[in-house]
């Protein structure tokens, strides 16, 4: 027995430690395999409910056509809803890609979305917040609060989500978890770039964690080297995300709600000309809607029927009342 142990020990020692696969391979294969797992289980659920529906139908007939019953219907919880689509945007659940229909479209687990070279898309997320895709981006909705990014650039805004329902963005190059925030994530090959506009984001990559704070840009190259830079919340680099922001329903809301939303979307500090103007903004109720406009344009359109107006001043947005506007000489 001792000799046997010696032989085993000798062989294993001579062979040395088994080599671990690279982290990027782990991440890439995990993303694809997990997507296959989700698709498979979603299909099984549908088949199960289909069988239930069939069995229920047979039962109903057998019980003598007395009571009409509705067979169980397969339902999957909605994970996101497409709100704005610009240019080429396609969807797939298997290998067949087809154009995404007009909004709003309900999206469930296993559905993949890709934008073409001229495409952009914005989604509201179940549970609160929004997701935006720029051109040449592909993602898959996986579960509540979890999203896979295969390539491209996304923007996530988690405002309105409870702290217990954070967003997790899984990519072949690492996983980003929000800590209440607005951020952009770009995946190019196995290189990752994170830009945090508000709040903080944690990136897990190969067993290591990095935290990006508001105003930070973190770039991780193919070899895992990390570089940090700064980016202001009103930097022009955010404009693509602003331009496609899904506007919340403002009908019946006070003007101050729209003003606050626009200030946040454009990364500007909000200030009122006076407490009186602030009170005025809170008391003016908006009617109608102006979807599919950039935030500043939407604000101007909505305020056109009021005596309020806004002035952009560097990184600030000041709200004024026309009655207090200085008269031109």
């Amino acid at each position: 027995m001792e000799r046997e142990a010696d032989i085993v020990e000798s062989l294993i020692r001579n062979a040395g430690r088994r080599v671990e696969p690279p982290d990027d391979a782990y991440q890439a294969v995990f993303v694809a395999a997990h997507a296959a797992f989700r698709e498979k289980t979603a299909r099984r659920r549908e088949r199960f409910w289909g069988l239930c529906a069939g069995a229920a139908a047979v039962l109903v007939i057998a019980v003598a056509l007395v009571v009409q019953r509705t067979p169980p219907v397969a339902t999957q919880s909605e994970l996101a809803r497409a709100e704005r689509l610009v240019g080429g945007v396609e969807t797939a659940t298997g290998d067949l890609w087809r154009p995404l229909a007009a909004t709003p479209v309900r999206l469930t687990a296993g559905i993949r979305i890709r934008t073409l070279a001229d495409g952009r898309a914005a989604f509201t997320l179940a549970g609160g917040g929004s997701l935006r895709l720029t051109a040449d981006t592909e993602v898959m909705f996986d579960a509540p609060g979890r999203l896979y990014v295969q390539r491209g650039t996304i923007y996530v805004d988690t405002q309105g989500r409870p702290a217990s329902e954070r967003i997790e963005v899984v990519t072949p190059a690492g996983t980003a978890r929000d800590l209440g925030t607005q951020f952009e994530l770009r995946l190019a090959g196995s290189a990752l770039r994170l830009r945090v506009r508000e709040g903080a984001v944690v990136i897990d990559r190969g067993g290591h964690s990095l935290t990006g704070q508001a105003g930070e840009e973190i770039s991780i190259d193919d070899f895992g080297s990390v570089q940090r830079a700064t980016i202001a919340p009103d930097d022009p680099a955010w404009q693509w995300a602003e331009a496609i922001a899904p506007m919340p329903d403002m009908d019946g809301q006070p003007a101050s709600a729209l003003i606050a939303w626009v200030a946040r979307e454009t990364g500007r500090r909000l200030r009122y000309e006076s407490p009186l103007v602030e009170q005025r903004a809170a008391s003016v109720i908006l009617h109608g809607e102006v979807r599919h406009l950039a935030p500043i344009d939407a604000l101007e359109a909505m305020l056109a029927t009021t005596d309020l107006w806004v002035e952009l001043d560097g990184d600030a947005m000041e709200v004024r009342a026309r009655s207090q506007e200085p008269t031109s000489p």
Binding site: A5, V8, R13, V19, V29, T41
Partner: protein, 202 residues
């Protein structure tokens, strides 16, 4: 001994079937458990079968997982789940070679050769007696790694902890949240499985 091995295999297959059922039921944790257990082993398996091509190995392992998940309903427990995955991986390697027009260039592994045992035994000989010691060493390294990867449960890890990391039985017991006697017994079973697996190649 054969009875003990058969009983162990039956127990492992039972565990594997339960794991497959959980995955098919949509249990995310079960999927992650399987992935974390199998990915490093399949990756090394594919690298070996593809002549060291790591990029191709990544593609092949990805294909293996996708194919295996797709066909998981058909897993009946005739063999250990890892063995079943390895067969799918072999097929994916063959597909890779076919796609790349290298049907005749398949890598023939030492463990597939009839004289594998002889080569292993030759390892015990002093290096100077071996005409191609370096190449043989590399072959044997791969066979030992493949054997450790093919061992059931945590056997491969336990052997590596013991003989590479030099952990004591008490430390191994601590890592696995076991008593010392259970860890000692596990180590003995791991050694036996390793020896039987190597012997089984001839």
């Amino acid at each position: 001994m054969a009875t003990a091995s058969n009983s162990l295999m039956a127990e492992l297959i039972h565990v594997d079937r339960a794991l497959a059922r959980r995955i098919l039921g949509g249990d995310d944790e079960a999927f992650r458990e399987l992935f974390d257990r199998f990915f490093p082993r399949l990756y090394r398996f594919a690298v070996a079968h593809l002549g060291g091509d790591r990029d191709a190995a990544q593609d092949v392992v990805q294909q293996t997982f996708c194919n295996a998940i797709e066909r998981l309903d058909s897993y009946r427990g005739e063999a250990a789940l890892y063995t079943w995955f390895c067969q799918i991986c072999r097929n994916a390697c063959a597909d890779h070679f076919r796609r790349n027009g290298r049907g005749g260039a398949r890598v023939v592994l030492l463990e597939d050769q009839p004289d594998a045992r002889a080569i292993l035994e030759s390892l015990a000989a002093p290096e100077s007696e071996q005409p191609e010691a370096g190449a043989w060493q590399a072959q044997v390294h791969r066979v030992v790694v493949a054997t450790l990867d093919a061992l059931p449960g945590r056997y491969g890890d336990v052997l590596e902890w013991k003989y590479i990391d030099g952990l004591s039985v008490r430390e191994i017991a601590g890592r696995l949240s076991l008593g010392e006697k259970a860890a000692e017994s596990l180590l003995t079973r791991a050694r036996t499985s390793f020896r039987e697996a190597i012997s089984g190649m001839t």
